[in-house]
């Protein structure tokens, strides 16, 4: 899979670039240059400046870093919850299983975006930027468990009923060993797959929330609030080619999510 390797290199390169934002970015993300309000690209500001005179490139780098660090964290939280809840459903007997499945179905049938909107909307809008970051991604992570939990439950049940677990029992293997050596290692690929599947979803969710002003709050940049800024640029965007630098956040977002999706297309048959 040559394509996958190229994509992995691109993503890793981007990650290194973003982690080094402090050295790569020409300016700080909140530094204002009052003499250069909404400027076009120059040597000093490769992507121009925004309406408050802040360097767009710096904001894009820091914003991408935030989104790309926290989306995996949110995905990890939701997959961890899914493992616990799905695992419990598979192990804890019929009654628990039915209750958990009901809860899962309910959660899945809720209108996701509106739910997040409600929760985020209930929080004060003038919270500290750092706390808004935490709230945004924690809410995403806590609400994303239902889908993966169903997959985990089905997977664990299949493993429990498998011939090799039965064989382990027939060899007199103690239950603790069966759990840690026979069940857990075979659930792991499933959890990884769920993590990678939910990652782009969380990136996009944050962007959606941000576009409605309910994500990370100013002055801290994220893909969400960088996209929101485009809302006030409608006149400029009527000529996108002349104002290409404004589109950089969208291009990067679409690019990264697409790369992640293509990277996930594994060869047939492997998990």
């Amino acid at each position: 899979m040559k394509l996958r390797r190229i994509i992995a290199c691109l993503l890793i390169g981007l990650a290194v670039l973003l982690l080094g934002a402090r050295w790569v970015a020409p300016h700080g993300y909140e530094q204002q240059f009052r003499d250069f309000i909404a400027a076009s690209p120059t040597k000093e500001f490769p992507l121009g400046t925004d309406a408050l005179g802040r360097d767009r490139l710096a904001r894009l780098l820091y914003g991408s870093r935030l989104s790309l660090l926290l989306a995996p964290a949110a995905a990890a939280v939701s997959v961890f919850l899914a493992a616990l809840i799905g695992g419990l459903a598979a192990f804890a007997g019929k009654r628990w299983e039915r209750a958990i499945l009901l809860a899962t179905d309910l959660t899945l049938s809720l209108p996701w975006l509106f739910l997040i909107l409600t929760i985020r909307g209930a929080m004060p809008l003038d919270v500290q930027p750092e706390i808004s970051v935490l709230i945004t991604f924690l809410v995403l992570g806590l609400l994303g468990w239902a889908g993966p939990a169903r997959v985990v439950r089905a997977g664990v049940k299949k493993i429990i009923a498998s011939d090799f677990v039965f064989q382990a029992n027939a060899m007199g293997t103690p239950p603790r060993r069966i759990f840690f050596h026979y069940i857990l290692p075979n659930v792991r690929p499933l959890l990884f797959a769920q993590f990678w599947i939910s990652l782009p979803v969380f990136i996009l969710s944050e962007a959606n929330l941000g576009a409605m002003g309910l994500s990370v709050s100013e002055p801290m940049p994220s893909w969400g609030n960088l996209l929101r800024e485009l809302e006030s640029q409608t006149s400029a965007l009527e000529h996108p080619l002349q104002n290409w630098w404004l589109l950089a956040p969208i291009v990067l977002l679409v690019g990264v999510v697409s790369l992640l999706q293509v990277w996930q297309q594994r060869p047939k048959g492997s998990l």
Partner: protein, 266 residues
């Protein structure tokens, strides 16, 4: 005969929804003997094997009766005692070798796992000996393979090695050759015969294939509609079947329509 049998059971077993599968089956296995249990698919042969290990609840079944193994009733044994017994005194070889191996563990580690289930000592020496006994390679490259990298025949040998690691007194073989091709099947049958000779392991060999059972077993028991309808030595079963069902089974055994000599051109 006349000695106390190694295993002596009287069993009734049922599944919810499916009804009674075993209806007062009575069987004895002598120490060092290979007993073949023959019956058609769904006659409850596997149920019997699982019941002896007290693992039937895993498949949703329930059983009653008595299972005397070395004069203790396993029906009354605690789960803790049963776990000590499984794989050490009575072990099981199942019919789908590749599915019976843990896909995320190397062959070597699975053997170690089988060893550690019943011993805290270093098992390397015993594992090597057992691998040689079942004609498997002892080199590191083989031991580092994962089950997906094994053929069905090799996987079955690995499972058999795991089953005989602790030199059990009784080996339950549940259709161990039904997933194998004819040549591998012959090799595995030969291996069972050898293990029986060298380790004096008694076997309950469950199969629907009367011919392979006849070639391996000292005695054959025919299971039909939840009961043992006939038992005897292979010769008697083939030459003088008493029960209607046994006669049907014997007549159903395929025979060559020509003398084997005709295969060789004159």
């Amino acid at each position: 005969m006349g000695l106390t049998p190694l295993l002596s059971l009287y069993l009734t077993a049922e599944y919810p929804g499916k009804g009674t599968v075993l209806n007062g089956v009575s069987l004895d296995v002598q120490a060092g003997e290979i007993l073949g249990l023959v019956g058609q698919s769904g006659s409850g042969k596997s149920t019997l094997a699982l019941s002896i290990l007290r693992l039937l609840h895993f498949k949703g079944g329930s059983d009653s009766g008595s299972i005397l193994f070395r004069e203790t009733d396993l029906m009354k044994a605690s789960e803790k005692d049963m776990r000590k017994l499984r794989g050490k005194d009575i072990s099981l070889v199942m019919q789908s070798p590749l599915a019976s191996l843990n896909p995320s563990m190397t062959v070597g580690n699975q053997l170690l796992e089988a060893w550690r289930a019943h011993s805290k000592l270093d098992g390397t020496q015993v594992i090597m000996e057992t691998l040689r006994q079942v004609s498997l390679s002892v080199d590191v490259a083989f031991l580092n393979r994962y089950p997906t990298q094994l053929s069905v025949g090799l996987a079955q040998r690995v499972l058999i090695a795991m089953a005989v690691l602790h030199k059990p007194a009784l080996l339950l073989a549940d259709e161990p050759t039904s997933a194998l091709d004819a040549l591998t099947q012959a090799e595995i049958l030969e291996l069972f015969a050898r293990l029986n000779r060298e380790n004096a392991t008694a076997m309950l060999y469950v199969s629907h294939d009367l011919l392979s059972v006849a070639s391996l077993c000292h005695r054959i028991a025919i299971l039909h509609e939840g009961r043992i309808v006939e038992q005897g030595e292979p010769k008697d079963i083939f030459e003088n079947p008493q029960h209607e069902y046994t006669r049907k089974l014997v007549n159903a055994v395929p025979t060559l329509r020509f003398k084997s000599r005709e295969l060789i051109p004159a």
